[in-house]
Symmetry: C2
Subunit: 180 residues, 2 copies
């Protein structure tokens, strides 16, 4: 089972400003072949998304729910219920992520999509990420929410491929090298 | 006059561990065509290097002085003198960097090479960097000395080119877009 990250970041490594704003990402020129960035193909391969409460609330604030029909698990110890209109596809989980991963693998999931800085960092630190797809936007923000955080040790990666887009986006994919 | 950054960083944005160690960079596989990474061509175009005291002392600790015959200006308010054996090519500077840049431009310099995290951050924040060449090493360190730091505002970049190497290094060049 693949456990994947697919995310856009500033050149200095931020996924959003301190308040969660992604205006700089939305403002980027996507007029020249970079509209999709391979997202649809990636998304089609995903059985289940996993994100934290902060990301969930950010996505909830969008005018439209972008993950229609997609299974989503929200990691939260404080949320007690999922909004009724999302009830069919969204579930809450408050236990250890390694158990969740085992359960989803048992259910036959082929690919999990891990989203949100803190959630990605937790999965990385437990050796639970298999691959990362990172698109760098050509801007320095100076501060914000980091994609990466402290790690228990060095995490070795294997570069798979890099694609550049006319608008200056640079998308690289990496596999995590899990030591044996 | 170009004012350039040419640097290798971990995927999570560090130029060195907290103590300045670059073992992870030295340990990276450079056996497959990535020995040079365009450094010689870049270095040949440089009239003058500029770095802070920390970087200078790090370079001084190497078994051999790597910048033989290259003019170097060390930014420091505490150093009082340059070691005698480096006296011909190394000078100290304690004034404002914008004045230094003006002086070097007046002298006819074509390209300055700015090195070291803090020094690069100072130059970026004063709008004094024209281009960056960043090579990403496929490893997450989790903590260390950052290439980038806080900025006064967003800094827009223009992606020029990206080259990938068989060892997984991904090298991207950017011009800084200076607002008018």
């Amino acid at each position: 089972m693949k456990i994947s990250v697919y995310i856009g970041i500033s050149l200095d490594g931020f996924i959003a400003r301190e308040d969660g704003d992604i205006d700089w990402l939305m403002a980027a020129d996507t007029s020249s072949g970079a509209e999709d960035l391979g997202y649809e193909a990636f998304s089609d391969s995903v059985d289940c998304m996993i994100m934290g409460r902060n990301s969930f609330e950010k996505v909830r604030s969008f005018p439209e729910w972008p993950y229609e029909g997609k299974r989503l698990i929200v990691l939260s110890r404080t949320l007690k219920a999922v909004p009724a209109e999302l009830d069919d596809n969204v579930a809450l989980y408050a236990g250890p992520i390694s158990e969740l991963v085992k359960q989803l693998e048992k259910e036959g999931c082929q690919r999990l999509y891990i989203d949100g800085g803190k959630t990605i960092q937790s999965f990385l630190n437990e050796g639970l990420i298999t691959d990362l797809n990172i698109t760098r936007v050509p801007v320095l923000l100076g501060e914000g929410l980091s994609l990466f955080g402290k790690t228990k040790q060095d995490i070795q990666l294997k570069h798979i491929a890099t694609t550049t887009f006319e608008n200056g986006f640079v998308q690289s994919t990496y596999d995590v090298v899990n030591e044996v």
